[in-house]
């Protein structure tokens, strides 16, 4: 398949990724059935991951790797987990994408990687305080459309 990201975009991403502080691990979950955008999404995140040595990526199948998908609460394909990595240790920061991050959402993908790499949410003190004391699960789903 032809490269999805052109050299200009790669150059811009490379510049942005110079700000990456710590390793990031991407887990991609595809499906062989009824996933129109799985191939493109997989290729997209692979191309992004290739820009920096600080980003590693593993490709999984939501059916074949059902246990892992369940562990990371991935129930839709294409599903992307953006996690922190220290040596061999993966730490889940709860960041997920479902569906292809195209258009404006591509910027979100890049920003998500930066966020996890910096290990800092950038949130207000009040929000941080609340989240520290959170003892019940919270699921936020932001529905977007391709722009």
């Amino acid at each position: 398949m032809a490269q999805l990201l052109n050299d200009d975009i790669i150059k811009q991403i490379r510049e942005v990724f110079e700000g990456l502080a710590n390793p990031v691990h991407i887990m991609f979950f595809g499906s062989k059935t009824g996933c129109d955008y799985c191939d493109d999404t997989r290729q997209l995140v692979e191309e992004v991951a290739a820009v920096s040595d600080l980003i590693s990526i593993n490709i999984y199948d939501i059916e074949a790797d059902a246990d892992l998908a369940a562990k990371y609460n991935v129930d839709k394909a294409p599903g992307v987990v953006i996690a922190a990595k220290e040596g061999e240790q993966i730490t889940d920061f709860g960041v997920r994408l479902a569906g292809i991050p195209s258009g404006h959402e591509f910027t979100s993908l890049i920003q998500d990687i930066l966020l996890v790499s910096n290990r800092d949410s950038g949130l207000n003190p009040q929000t941080r305080e609340f989240l520290k004391g959170l003892d019940k699960p919270v699921l936020l789903q932001v529905f977007v459309t391709p722009t």
Partner: protein
Amino acid sequence: MIQAEMVEATEFPELSMRHNVSGVPQTTINDGMAHVVGAVPEPNLLAEIQRVLTK
């Protein structure tokens, strides 16, 4: 404990319909306990989450 997911609505029409997604972005909290349509300032999102958790 907290997970945030971007969901591309056109690829998941059943889920989008279940949550009555019409305008985007739509932020759905805890599988439909609350919805916020449009850009959400951080304090507003915090308040909505707190509200859902006390229901």
